[in-house]
């Protein structure tokens, strides 16, 4: 049955499926609280997530298969919307979730709180899917919290691990602060416009802000703070290195890929829909300029700090901050005057997030594998791993080079298009900063590859005692996606651009 003929309420099916999966997991957990039946728990979670991936992909392709953009379906009094953008990000989030769940199967083999873990992940994923579909500042906030709260718990799920609990604390505290700022920002925007529905906000702004420009401006900056927290952009990034480092690696993967993408989708939607740049810039609220500042600072801080890390996971954490900077170009390079251009920029950013989702998840899952082996965390500990684990190391090399933006991997194409779009919009200097930092990133990414492939182990061969199937499958799948995204880049970018175009209409 074609997707168009389904009733409207089914448009949120990916979210429903995830929510239902979470419920099933709760039920299982409540029937047998001490279950360590990994197959059942992880299986349920994965099946549910994959179903969600399938449905989301189906919807997305159906949405983008027509001549123009597909329909924009709004539900619950316009509080929730399903369009190309939301489906696009739903695909990102659910795919990453599926990969993470797959890897968790082995990673958490000895953890006593399996059911909690899986249900928390699924719940967070649900929140993220809802973030992608939020069409009102209220739903934005609620779904953001729905995604955040399980994340806090997930980061500190290793109860006996000091790192995990420290990471959880920091993540939570900064998160709480940020959400306070964010909600205060919402209250100010509401004050200035009298509405929380994005399109209504835009409509209100169209008629002028009634002397509330100041409030609006402060509100917008605070909103940006909230988004910046979620996307780990400087200066709201402080939680990220610690949270990613301390959290179990699959959770780090989940947070740095899915959560970041979800943060970006609300930023995209809120700023594009609610604050049309040409309108608000006239009021002195040039948010594109703010994002430019943020993008530059984020790219620089993330990449430079990553360059000097000795702990691989922490390096990846910083690199993920750097990538937030690249993705921010999608908002920073919006000009407001030219919807075609802006859609290209935004689409490029979306595409980068998609590709980034694959490669970054893969990279963190490799860390998960290494943690599983318990060989250590520093570059030195990684030396010579390629001898004993060539396939995983090959995949890691793919991730690293792809993250660095080298062909023939998809990270190259997405960066290429992103810089292209930025230069096209006239922001060549943004692209220049991106390019320079990206070259620097090559240095630290290649250090990983060097350690894996070029260096000899410090003493003997590293202790690699098992080849956990789940993590391996997840890593190989992520690598395959990273590579295959290049040939499929055209399709993906078309979808992203169409979705972005629809956002601007």
């Amino acid at each position: 049955m074609p997707a168009e003929q389904l009733p409207e309420w089914t448009a949120l099916a990916p979210a429903y499926i995830l929510a239902a999966t979470a419920m099933v997991l709760f039920v299982i957990d409540s029937i047998d609280p001490d279950s360590d039946n990994r197959n059942l728990l992880a299986g349920t979670a994965i099946v549910g997530t994959l179903a969600s991936v399938g449905v989301a992909t189906w919807f997305l392709l159906a949405w983008g298969s027509g001549t123009g953009p597909g329909p924009t379906i709004t539900l619950f009094g316009e509080a929730v919307v399903v369009d190309g953008t939301s489906l696009f990000f739903t695909v990102i989030v659910t795919t990453v979730t599926a990969l993470v769940l797959l890897a968790s199967y082995d990673y958490l083999a000895d953890d006593p709180h399996q059911a909690e873990y899986y249900s928390l992940i699924i719940l967070a994923a649900t929140g993220m899917v809802l973030m992608a579909s939020s069409n009102s500042l209220a739903t934005v906030f609620v779904s953001l919290e729905l995604a955040s709260l399980p994340s806090y718990a997930l980061v500190s799920i290793l109860k006996r691990n000091r790192g995990s609990s420290e990471a959880g604390l920091k993540y939570f505290l900064i998160g709480a602060l940020s959400s306070a700022i964010f909600v205060y920002g919402i209250s100010l925007v509401y004050g200035a416009t009298g509405s929380l529905i994005l399109s209504d906000v835009a409509a209100a702004l169209d008629e002028g802000a009634d002397g509330f420009e100041g409030l609006l401006g402060v509100g917008v900056v605070m909103l940006i703070g909230g988004f910046a927290f979620k996307t780990a952009s400087v200066p709201f990034h402080f939680w990220a290195p610690e949270a990613y480092e301390g959290a179990p690696a699959p959770v780090s993967a989940f947070l740095s890929s899915a959560s970041k993408a979800a943060g970006f989708v609300i930023a995209f939607r809120v700023f594009v829909e609610a604050f049309p740049l040409d309108v608000v810039a006239a009021m002195g609220v040039d948010w594109a300029l703010m994002f430019q500042v943020l993008a530059v600072v984020t790219m620089i801080v993330g990449n430079f700090a990553a360059a000097v890390q000795s702990n691989v996971k922490r390096m990846l954490a910083y690199s993920s901050i750097g990538h937030a900077g690249y993705a921010l170009i999608g908002l920073a390079a919006i000009t407001g005057g030219n919807p075609g251009h802006d859609a290209t920029v935004l689409g490029a950013s979306m595409m980068h997030l998609l590709v980034y989702g694959f490669m970054n998840t893969g990279a963190f899952l490799f860390i998960a594998l290494v943690e599983h082996w318990d060989v250590g965390r520093t570059f030195d500990d990684y030396r010579g791993l390629a001898r004993t684990a060539p396939f995983a190391s090959l995949a890691m090399a793919v991730f690293m080079f792809s993250l660095a933006g080298l062909p023939p991997f998809s990270g190259f194409a997405s960066k290429y298009v992103l810089f292209l779009a930025a230069i096209g919009a006239g922001y060549w200097w943004l692209a220049a900063v991106g390019a320079v930092t990206s070259a620097l990133s090559l240095y630290y990414y290649s250090r990983v590859v060097k350690a894996l492939w070029l260096d000899d182990p410090i003493d003997g061969t590293p202790r690699v005692d098992s080849y956990p199937r789940g993590i391996y499958v997840a890593i190989i799948a992520a690598a395959a996606l990273t590579v295959l995204a290049l040939p499929a880049f055209g399709v993906g970018f078309d979808l992203a651009e169409t979705a972005a175009t629809a956002l601007f209409e």
Binding site: I181, G214, G217, V218, F236, W239, V285, A305
Partner: protein, 673 residues
Amino acid sequence: MAAFDFAPAIALLPFVSFLIALTVGKHLPKKGALPGIAATAGALLLSIWAVVAVAGGEYHHAVLYEWVAAEEALSFHFGILIDPLSAMMLVIVSLIAFLVHVFSLGYMNDEGEIGLPRYYAGLGLFTFSMLAFVYADNLLMAFMFFELVGLCSFLLIGFWFRERAPPSAAKKAFLVTRFGDYFFLIGVVGVFATFGTGMFASVNGFESFPELAEAALAGEADVNTFGFAAETWFSILGLLVLGGVIGKSAQFPLHTWLPDAMEGPTPVSALIHAATMVAAGVYLVARMYGFYALSPTLLAIIAFVGGFTALFAATMGVVKNDVKQVLAYSTISQYGYMMVALGVGAYVAATFHLMTHAFFKALLFLGAGAVIIATHHEQNMWKMGGLKDRLPVTYWTFLVGSLALAGILPFSGFWSKDEVLYDALLIGLENPIFLGAYAMALLAVFFTGFYTFRMVLLTFHGEPRSDHAENAHALGWNVKFPLVVLGVLAAVAGFINMKPVEDLTGAEILYLEYWLDGEYGAVEGLTYGAYNTLVADVSGLGAADIGPLLPGVIALAVAVAGVALAWVLYNDPEPEEHTARLGAVRDLWYNNYYQDEAQVWLARNVTLPLSRRADTFDQGVIDGVVNGVGSVSLTGGDRLRRIQTGLVTNYAALIALGLVVLLVAFAVVGGWF
């Protein structure tokens, strides 16, 4: 069947022998000598045939191969030009090459050398390159084979590579000539850029660059003179090409490689340094004489360089102890005479001396080689002596050669050298500036006579002064045959152009002059007469009008004086060195005026430190900047990450600070309040 149909084979035959020696040489009897002899004999016959054909009134030009297909009037091709000059040179080169091959049978094969295929391959390639250079029809081709000649000299001089000195000498030979060739190459490029052609002769629809230059000077042709006046530019070009000439013909100051090059096997010395490679430079000037004749400045420079070199080298020859060294310096000196001749417009005299010198110097080298074989590779003259009786054939031929070199009537050297001096005097009397060149050349005659006979006396006369000299062993036919042939030639070759005799008797016996003047056949414009006109008309060098007798007598007297002094000092069964009497001058001469030291100093104390400095600079500064950028980035990154203090309170503060900064900044920018 015309003689010229086989012209390409003149050069290609030795090339084939090169290939044979290189590939299958070690399986052949005599290790490649026989193909070499056959090839050079063939080349010789074909060259003689070509001479006969030219004498029949023809010349030959053919484009053999387009190196780069012609385009925009720039033609890079290989072509053959056989006119009187090149035909004569072909005969000389192939003859000497043939004789050297034969001689090598005795010198190398009989001595049980290893690596003979390499030796004969080198000889073959050398002969090939030289012959191809000789009949090249354009400057580019000439340059290319000029360079190949240099390569071969490297290979042959360094033949005994297992020792220290020969490779070093080989390196020096190539490097110093390369330095000259650098200028030559600029000249070649400049000629092509200026005239669009490097042709020596206007034949077959080509225009030659000397004629274009002449036309340009006359305002009849338009060429790119690169912003200079035409005459200046042509002088510059000529000088640049002259750089190659000075290098290859071992003229001051690029002569230093030649004495060192004596480290090569003696037959090679004979081939390379007597008759061919060194001759290449002078030949080149003769080949494009129409161009040099256009500029009085150039002519004066050539004459002066030649005169100075002639004297300069002769003085150094006076004190040498190694028989080959004496010959080496005499070679440099004799080429100086040729340069003098070319400088004063005496095209015939230069060519004449080139020819006679080829014969007698090859003879002397081979003779020295024969002595060296006989004395079991002894080269120091003070350890010889008394060889006259043990090696009669060698002695008599060597003596002929020495007399020719010293310029004693009636041996060939006298006639040619006399003509050089005579012509120099003629020009010099009219244009005093050339008189200096003449004076130096004349003075050199004295030294020539002296060192030549010092050498003869020390080597062959007196008592044997070493066991080797005492036990000199007999020589085979393959050694004697070339000596005899060359001995005859050295004695009689002068008769083809006896200027004083002609003057005295009025008989028309200046065969060489007629030959070069196109009496028998030549390319128009490439004749002695044409050049003479150019020198007189364009360069404005007039000639005095005096007979050749008096100058001849003077030259002869000076030469005899030199010989006589040598006789007085060294005709003694136990000769003394006598050089101590020269005092400081002896050291100066013995050390070659410290020329080598100067060049070594230049290389070791200027170039090398400069390059070391550059290397230090490169490693330190340039690479330092690169690495510096890297470490600055890392330091920056390290500083940057220090804001991540680990204290969540600080994070909150920084977030708040960031927010406030953003708020304030944008509030100000946006004018919110």
